[in-house]
Amino acid sequence: MPQPVARAQDLLVGYGGAPVCAPVTFTLHPGRALALVGANGSGKSTVLRAVIGLLEPAGGTLTVLGRPVDERTVEFRSAVSSVLDDDAYFPSLSVAEHLYLVARGHGVLDAWDRVDELLDEFGLADHARSLPVSLSSGQRRRLLLAAGFARPRSLLVLDEPEQRLDRRMLSALADRLVAEKAAGGAVLMASHDPELVRAVADRALHLDDHANELLSAADAAERIARIPS
């Protein structure tokens, strides 16, 4: 069994020392996907922020690639790709230039070729020269997702990637994530979408205030479907 990409043991996350959910325990190996599911406010995004180093754990242990999380290291930033809901862009950079910045910044040699491929794949080819401010919220979401794939990675962290995506794009994203696993990458995602969880995740962790529960992807999808919208 290869060494896990991410491992949490009794991890406590929260703000100002107050945990937002019960202690979290999981292990994520290369080529596998783990979904974090649960009601709004159950702590999914908070756990993800801890995993990518934007939040200091309040307790327990959390390692990524065998080391305690430290996003300041070059190696961590080389290996962990994250797509949160950061709706912030350089006002003067076009869509294509944003993607190029990420690809080239990670040392991708033929970066413009990769950018063109991603623009096609995420339906942004017609907006390559547009400034992000002129895009719809769904298009900006696709730009963020494309940026997550524009760079090398071992762990892909996604916070509700289904947000503002239509069914066709969501299906394409699911295929992309399955391919990610096949290539040896690990995926950690928070999601409210039962179809995406069922298609991509191997396991799911249901977060709750009192106790967290490790579920199969099918069980998690069923549980999500039962949550009233």
Partner: protein, 544 residues
């Protein structure tokens, strides 16, 4: 920070991967794209530089001229100063210490190093050397602080105190060095992982200490004849220290965690937007919210709450009590009029009048956090079963009590200066509602309206739509406290002034309770069947 991880390289590659680029090339790529789309020609750039230089020169000339005028109008210091008094140079020295506290507090609240939203999202995730990305951001605040520190010291020493050119040069150089040192020290502390709140608290504490020091020095009769200046060798040591701190900070930039940089950048962006749009409320929110403790150690039980009205007041009390910056601000503001009366050269009508106006403004802005929160989130005013006007009146309760306490302290000093403490305290109590009404009126003012015509002035174009909005609140202080101002000018309180102040306070209370947001001119225009009010105004925020 380039320790090898046991896993080797990334598992998934989007293509061939080579060496990582220099951080500088990332910055240059971003800047070049921005320049390409800005459409700015060399001539427009030169025009902008020319305009900035001329504006700065005019501003400096005006400031120096005002300081010189003030100095010329000051009476000479007495040959034998009173036992309880401060010389003007001593007061300036204490004020500079307070300024250092403000600088540290600001540095803590603004970072000092931070990255804006775009930089956080698109730069900080790159595996390039973070130092190369952060260098410009790390230099910005120390340079701004140093320039501001040098300018303020030069203005006070050369302009107000009329020191010789060489002494002023030395003092200004010391101001530059000390300001840079303070901001750089705050940066080192930030890189060590200390929270911004602690640095801000240290600055607030220094501000409080300077107020206490002023009192102690005045009671002890401290009389510096000149502002103390550092000798050249000490300045050289200071410059070397600055250089050492710059080097230390540069080496620690890659240890700045992204979460700290994001938070600081967010606050700085919000504060900068507030400054550009001349919105002091937004500036206060930016500087306060970012450094507040995220979780409280204890939960207020609100035992005194008996209904909707008391709930609203209790919430305002809790807001004020939990903001150390505002409490320090109130204490410092209460001491300012007293200090003016114990500095022989300032203990005259203009000096005391200016001191009361400045101190009143500082104190009242500290007491209206609840009203400002209600203006930003109108839902807060609508949550309770209270009429809009009632909400507005209740919002005056906490500022009213705070300003009553401030006025009693401040006017006791005025009474001592004028030789009749009792009636001045009565006048203070009668005028306190005006301060409360003014601060609530200012808190609920609409946003600046930039679409109104500009008026040409010797200092440049004046946006009338902004000045009419910014003057909401101060207008009440000027007009409804007229009996107080006249009494102060005459150094004498008569029963007529007390009666007129009651009337002024009643008017201020009525105006402060108003939920109309347009100006008087707008409402007259609407009443005459004209177009609706200012685009910047919005419907009344509160009420059923």
């Amino acid at each position: 920070m380039t320790d090898e991880l046991p896993h080797g390289g990334p598992a998934v590659l989007p293509g061939d991967v080579g060496d990582l680029p220099e951080a500088r090339s990332i910055r240059r790529f971003t800047a070049a794209a921005g320049r390409a789309r800005a459409g700015a020609s060399l001539s427009s750039l030169l025009g902008d530089v020319y305009y900035a230089v001329i504006s700065a020169a005019i501003g400096a000339a005006v400031a120096v001229g005002v300081a010189g005028q003030v100095r010329a109008s000051l009476p000479p210091p007495p040959a034998v100063p009173p036992a309880t008094s401060l010389s003007l140079p001593t007061l300036v020295a204490v004020a500079l210490l307070a300024g250092a506290g403000v600088l540290v507090s600001l540095a803590g609240r603004l970072g000092p190093v931070g990255t804006g939203g775009a930089e956080s999202a698109w730069w900080l995730v790159l595996p390039v050397d973070r130092r190369g990305l952060l260098r410009p951001a790390a230099r910005r605040l120390p340079i701004v602080g140093a320039v501001a520190g040098g300018a303020v010291v030069a203005l006070l020493d050369g302009g107000l105190l009329g020191d010789s050119g060489q002494r002023t040069l030395l003092a200004a150089a010391a101001g530059v060095v000390v300001a840079a040192l303070l901001v750089l020290l705050a940066t080192v502390v930030q890189s060590a992982g200390v929270s911004r709140r602690r640095v801000a608290l240290a600055g607030d504490a220094l501000l409080g200490v300077s107020a206490v020091l002023a009192v102690v020095l005045a009671l002890g009769g401290a009389h510096l004849a000149q502002l103390p200046v550092a000798p050249w060798p000490l300045l050289v040591v200071g410059v070397l220290l600055v250089a050492a701190l710059v080097w230390l900070v540069d080496g620690r930039l890659d240890r700045m965690p992204a979460r700290s940089l994001r938070e600081s950048g967010s606050v700085a962006t919000q504060a900068m937007g507030a400054v550009v749009s001349l919105d002091s409320r937004e500036l206060g929110r930016a500087l306060t919210a970012g450094s507040a403790r995220p979780v409280r150690r204890w939960v207020s039980r609100f035992h005194g709450v008996r209904g909707a009205a008391s709930a609203l007041v209790a919430a305002d009390v809790a807001q004020l009590r939990r903001s150390p910056r505002h409490l320090v601000q109130l204490v410092v503001a209460a001491l300012i009029p007293w200090l003016a009366t114990v500095v022989p050269q300032l203990a005259n009508v203009p000096g005391v009048l200016v001191a009361v106006l400045v101190a009143g403004g500082i104190a009242s802005s500290a007491a209206a956090e609840g009203a400002r929160a209600g203006e930003m989130n109108p839902i807060l005013d609508r949550m309770l079963p209270l009429a809009a006007k009632t909400v507005r009146r209740l919002r005056m309760a906490v500022p009213g009590v705070a300003m009553l306490a401030w006025a009693l302290l401040a006017f006791a000093a005025l009474g001592r200066w004028a030789g009749d403490v009792g009636t001045w305290l009565v006048l203070a109590a009668l005028g306190a509602p005006v301060w409360a009404a003014a601060t609530v009126r200012a808190a609920y003012r609409p946003g600046p309206n930039w679409s109104k015509p500009l008026v040409s002035t010797p200092f440049g174009a004046l946006p009338t739509g902004v000045t009419t909005v910014v003057s909401r609140g101060p207008d009440l202080v000027v007009l409804c406290l007229l009996p107080t101002w006249i009494a102060l000018i005459l150094r004498h309180v008569t029963p007529t002034f007390l009666l007129l102040q009651v009337v002024g306070s009643a008017i201020a209370f009525a105006v402060g309770s108003s939920i109309a947001t347009g100006t008087l001119m707008d409402r007259l225009f609407e009443a005459s069947g004209g177009a609706p009010g200012t685009p910047g105004s919005k419907p009344a925020a509160a009420g059923r």
